[in-house]
């Protein structure tokens, strides 16, 4: 690992520790990391969207035209229209002409909502309903194991559970009698589903935490040229950077303890 790569890695570790420091309390290092990520991610998306969307969908379509002709001599000159509409969006900055920005907004919202209706019906509603309408495997009802996910019992539970959960969200009829009973079963299914999703989310976050700790460990290994990351250009500067960051963190902790003790004495 080159020293410059090690410095970048140290930067990542510093920002990791700065972000984790929020577990103790809101502090200047966390605020620095928090504000930095806002700016850097905004800049990142500007660049990615420019190169990935604007260039292929607009500039490349108009590239055979001439700027002094306002690209009207381009073979796909009609792509100037959305660009002009996009520019009209900027009239939002003006108090007097901000109403003009409603035209591109209207077009954008019209197209987006128009696309959403059939796509949502197809991708979310119809496909889910289609997946529900399967023939129950009565011959193999328990599949030799109550916990089988392909048995007839599982299929029936998925079908009945989904219907019951939908009934729970139906508020036009009072949840009483048989209807109320089905709705209660629906909320049970929903709670089990929420619990399972919650557990899964927690474990995903824990795996991210493990990943950050792993990175910190790799950084330590790289600093001391351990066998796992052999470095032919290894020198004392790696350890100096390592100990500087460690000293910095320890110094901050000691400073916090001292100021805490002082505030208690007062």
């Amino acid at each position: 690992m080159e020293f410059s790569d090690f410095l970048w890695m140290t930067c990542g570790i510093f920002l990791t520790l700065a972000t984790f420091s929020f577990l103790y309390k809101d502090n200047p290092f966390y605020k620095f990391a928090e504000h930095l990520v806002v700016g850097v991610s905004a800049g990142f998306f500007v660049v990615v969207l420019w190169h990935g969307t604007l260039v292929p969908n607009l500039f490349q379509k108009l590239e055979d035209g001439d700027w002094y002709m306002l690209w009207l001599n381009s073979s796909e000159w009609w792509y100037i229209i959305p660009a002009l509409l996009g520019v009209l969006m900027w009239t939002r900055f003006s108090k007097e002409y901000s109403w003009v920005s409603r035209w591109p907004m209207g077009l954008y919202i019209g197209i987006s909502t128009g696309i959403a209706i059939p796509l949502e019906m197809s991708n979310r509603v119809n496909k889910q309903l289609h997946a529900m309408m399967i023939e129950i495997d009565w011959a193999n009802f328990f599949g030799g194991n109550i916990l089988s996910t392909t048995s007839g019992f599982a299929q029936l539970l998925i079908f009945v559970g989904a219907i019951a959960a939908l009934i729970y969200f139906f508020f036009s009829k009072e949840h009483k009698g048989l209807f109320g009973g089905v709705a209660t079963f629906g909320i049970w299914i929903l709670m089990i589903g929420f619990g399972a999703s919650f557990g899964y989310t927690v474990m995903a976050r824990v795996s991210l935490f493990i990943n950050r700790m792993q990175d910190t460990k790799d950084w330590g290994i790289a600093a001391f040229n351990n066998a796992e990351v052999v470095n032919p250009h290894y020198g004392a500067q790696y350890q100096i950077v390592f100990w500087l960051l460690v000293l910095f963190v320890v110094g901050y902790i000691i400073n916090e303890i001292v100021s805490h003790l002082k505030s208690k004495q007062v």
């Binding site: 972000t19 905004a42 959305p82």
Partner: protein, 270 residues
């Protein structure tokens, strides 16, 4: 003109895009792709509004010295430096005078911020002009790197990728990892087995979490893994299916309300 035309546009394009989905003809698919390109282009131009808003809010915080105003510089420099790196790339073996170019542009940003908040605008604008001249001069005379707006070489700029890999990724990953701790404390309040529903939630969550625990006693891992898989694939699937159907119907209903002009909040006031 101010309100009726936008509503008319929403209705015409909304109804058209809904109907075209069911028309199996080449021309219909062409119009669909064509208008989709339009929305992407308009959307990108709208991004400039967001960036301007971020700049404006940050400068306002600096001007009025609001709480944590000093960190607004960090946001603005972070934004600007990523944009600079994303539109430039190395040609030769060394970066040449590229650091000077970046420093000059950062100085330009600093001067522009102060030109918009300071009383001595002329002074800061003059300095901005000087910084701009330096950056132009370096860009013109230095051949070891180039600016690229129409090609995507900037995305491969090592400074850009290093900022993404060693600044953006660690902070975002750590922020998500932080949530594990906050979720745990929230779970303590939510999971107390006060009734049947809370108990169901608690048991399901514990079983799914235990699945990934390598320190379980002999024989338990298989049973826990099987139960966890069943919970994820049977009751959870039923619940998710109901939720997804509900979301889909909700989006369709809201879209219809927008197209028919019943929901008009997106147009704002005036």
């Amino acid at each position: 003109m101010k309100r009726q035309l936008p509503f008319l546009l929403v209705f015409i394009f909304g109804a058209f895009m809904t109907i075209q989905y069911y028309v199996p003809h080449e021309s219909s698919e062409f119009v669909y792709t064509f208008l989709l390109d339009w929305t992407m282009i308009i959307g990108i131009f709208a991004l400039a509004l967001g960036i301007w808003s971020l700049y404006h809010v940050s400068v306002d915080k600096i001007q009025h010295k609001k709480e944590n105003w000093i960190y607004s510089y960090v946001t603005l420099f972070g934004l600007f430096i990523m944009v600079v790196f994303g539109f430039s790339y190395k040609v030769g073996d060394s970066w040449g005078m590229y650091p000077l170019f970046v420093i000059a542009l950062m100085a330009l940003l600093y001067c522009l911020i102060h030109a918009s908040i300071s009383r001595s605008k002329g002074f800061w604008l003059g300095l901005s002009g000087a910084a701009l001249a330096v950056s132009f001069g370096v860009a013109f005379f230095d051949d070891s790197w180039k600016l690229a707006f129409m090609t995507s070489e900037g995305l491969k700029n090592t400074m850009f990728t290093n900022f993404a890999d060693f600044v953006l990724t660690p902070i975002l990953a750590t922020m998500f990892a932080l949530l594990a701790f906050f979720i745990a404390s929230a779970a303590y309040r939510a999971f107390r087995a006060r009734n049947v529903l809370a108990s169901l939630l608690l048991i399901a969550a514990i079983i799914v979490m235990l699945r990934f625990n390598p320190y379980m006693p002999f024989g338990l891992p298989e049973l826990v893994a099987e139960t966890s898989s069943w919970l994820m694939n049977v009751p959870n699937l039923a619940a998710q299916r109901a939720i997804v159907i509900g979301i889909g119907l909700g989006i369709v209903a809201t879209s219809l309300k927008v197209i028919l002009g019943i929901e008009r909040g997106y147009m704002g006031k005036g």
